[in-house]
């Protein structure tokens, strides 16, 4: 099997050499290669080096994605465990940046996983906390907000 190496450059000038198989997890690169735009190095303008290195780390672990029918329970468990540890170490800001980068790179697996991580993090938070996290302005009038809370009182209790 060819072990073609692909060179990726981050927006801040860091270079990463990775196997083609790993690079193919990023659909944006697949498209570039198909369009023959991939010359010597592929510049990734929207991803900084620190984030790109994390993403590559994740992609390398997932390069041989087991299919649903794969019987290897052990391997799946190990991978899940690695995934959990990978996210645990990261702060929310980094995870947000990973989401943006995974979206840009079109790396669906990581985008889904990171989105799920954020979802799990915010699911028990109050609306105020969520506004802070996503930098959202509250555009309800106090009366409107009261109305909605009354309708959904059960979501604040149980």
């Amino acid at each position: 099997m060819s072990s073609n190496k692909i060179l990726l450059t981050s927006s801040d000038g860091e270079s990463f050499e990775i196997d083609e198989a790993v690079a193919r997890k990023f659909l944006i690169i697949v498209h570039m290669m198909e369009d023959n735009c991939a010359g010597e190095a592929i510049p990734l303008e929207n991803v900084t080096g620190d984030i790109l290195s994390k993403i590559i780390e994740y992609a390398k672990m997932h390069v041989n994605e087991p299919s649903e029918e794969d019987e290897d329970e052990e391997a799946k468990k190990n991978l899940d465990s690695w995934d959990a540890k990978f996210m645990e170490k990261l702060d929310l800001e980094t995870i947000f940046k990973i989401i943006l980068a995974a979206n840009y790179l079109n790396f669906e697996g990581l985008l889904g996983f990171a989105s799920q991580t954020v979802a799990d993090y915010i699911k028990d938070k109050t609306p105020e906390e969520v506004r802070e996290i996503f930098n959202i302005e509250n555009d309800f009038t106090p009366e409107e907000e009261e109305e909605i809370r009354k309708e959904n009182a059960w979501t604040f209790n149980e």
């Binding site: 800001e93 947000f96 697996g109 996983f113 989105s115 915010i122 996503f134 302005e137």
Partner: protein
Amino acid sequence: MKRKSRVTIRRRRRRDMCKSHEPMPYIPFDLVIEILTRLPAKSLMRFKSVSKLWSSLICSRTFTNRLLRVPSFIQRLYVTLTFLDNSQRKSKLLSSSSSPGSDISTMSSFVVDRDLTTPSMKGYYLSHVLRGLMCFVKEPSVKIYNTTTRQLVVLPDIEESNIIAEDHKNKKIMYRIGHDPVGDQYKVVCIVARSNDEFGELRRYLSEHWVFILGGDKSSGWRKIPCRSPHLPITQILSINGRMHYLAWVQKFDPMLVTFDFSSEEISILQAHEDIRWFKSNPIEYYGKVALLNLSDLKRECTMNLWVMEDVEKNMWSEKTLAVHPSQMDIVKSTSLRVAGTTRNNEVILVPHNIRYTLTGEVIVEPQNTTLLYIFLYDLQKNLMRKVEIKEPPYHTKFWDVVGLDDVENFMYL
């Protein structure tokens, strides 16, 4: 190919996941949607008050449709319990879920985890649940309840109905929720019928069909649907693939299969096969087709009769007699069972029920044999029943019933 991406993250001393002082990177809205579609219903309902944009998104049809596509691994069984509390009769509506990770073919126990009882349900009978929506009836009144958002709406009275207005003792009213896949709308159908006052050969029926669109413009109200052959429904109603089906009499004792299409709102009537026994026949879904499962001989002879509509154009039916496996015969001999729908993997839901009929034709609900809650799932092809238990009810009573199985989270605003 997609692996389940749910991973439990130990939320230990994550000092501060958010680096203070620095604003978080701006997440464009389409990526926020990726996060929102992975939230449980309760969180989504709470986050409606985050902003107007979030509120309109969470209620929007596009969003709820996206959610419908994310397969829900959680099946829900809805249970009603009736018991005495300080000599006051109380009824509770509870929701139980299958354990996450168990799939539909292996699930064997459910755990009660939600109490959905609302005072406005008092006195109403829970008729059925479809795609997250429940239909409560107290003739002639009907209420629709969204099990996900917990919104309860009272539908307006059908003021223009002649039959409802009459005080006739043989009046029958049935309501059914259905989904129109073409217009992506949820509709409620009301069938009201009674016999004419003739006897014998001259016995005929008067019936009306009314439709109400849920979540739509309230001013449109109930609309009458024309039907060329008035009839009396004589079985439960089955909803599949955007249509509903039931057996009915145009003429007494002569069963017809009536079909109502939720999209075109047309009623079609087909003669049922002459050998079909209508008494104790239950319309069910059999591998995508309309079928009738007859339980008349179940207790006595441990057999069931299945009629499948193989070809609608030619009105061709096939028939099969299913014999209960010898190892399972005492189940059916000791407990009366009724049909409560089918699961996504074609198992028939059988619920124990203990009812008797008085001489005047009234139905009396007797206590069940046990306070333990359970149902059976019957695989028609393998001819095997398996027991599914519902655990941890907050009250123990012998008056319980399982209303239905559902796995859809529906965020629509009624």
